[in-house]
Subunit: 188 residues, 2 copies
Amino acid sequence: MTSKKLLVGLAGMAGSGKSIAVKTATQNGYDVIVMGDEVREEAKRRNLAPTPENLGKIMLELRRLEGDSVIARRCIPKIDKVNDQKIIIDGIRSLSEAEEFKTIFPRFSLIAVHSSPETRFKRINNRKRSDDPQDWHTFHERDLRELRIGLGNVIAMAEYIIVNEGTRGSVKAQARRILKKVEEKWMK
Amino acid sequence: MTSKKLLVGLAGMAGSGKSIAVKTATQNGYDVIVMGDEVREEAKRRNLAPTPENLGKIMLELRRLEGDSVIARRCIPKIDKVNDQKIIIDGIRSLSEAEEFKTIFPRFSLIAVHSSPETRFKRINNRKRSDDPQDWHTFHERDLRELRIGLGNVIAMAEYIIVNEGTRGSVKAQARRILKKVEEKWMK
């Protein structure tokens, strides 16, 4: 059965600034579903620490066993439970995931956030999250891993793209403008 | 041996508006090398008509026989012959090609042009080039073929991105601004 909910899929490489776009969406009445949470919950069920290595392995294993859109499929019951009509899905990584959502939620739009590798690396170095690589080689390896899953294809095929080379304010303004367009498209 | 020439690599899905960016570059003193010409020349050498099917087959065969960066490698002697110091390379399709150029031309920057699939399809339908697909299915298949080669990865990893959802003038303005930044980075 298809749903009338409005779904916005968000994709971007690590450090591109997805979180600013998510925040803008929540400030505009969107509920957030974080795709990575599915993997973290799977780690918990298996009594594994949520280290980047464990999460990476679990994700690849789930995809191997249950197909490329496994994480998207696991998010769907959560989305169904949400009361809000507008939902942003943080962390789409392959076109199969986008297709999976689109089948159940025809009112689906894909937004990508883009920054140059240099900008993303600097940003990650500044935020120093525990699971962020601090050297260029590890950072680049993670980029390539994400691209192998299909993240580059999602960015190339996005309906809207937010360019994040400037201020947080600029990202928020672009996100607001795009969300408005998405709502005009699907909720008119 | 490395070269002091400034190379700008340009990537974008079919119909994204790369040609406007190329035109802006030539108006700003850049010579143009079209990567697809290498494949067309190979077709000529083989006495094959330059149909989309033949060109697609030749490209895949060359990549299989000589590696993912074969087209880039074949462009290098042409670039060496150019007198201008600023060159734009039209039609980068994989990160291996970008790496190949970067090795010989350290002053290399990657620009991507992005439009939504819907916008690109409309644009292609309007321009009606003989080798452009006129139905959504053929168009989408070509997109997927380009993504399999690695074009999405190039877009995701570009240093600069031109968003082309508006007018030609907007693309030209973005291209001019970005080319200026590239020149400031490499020619200072």
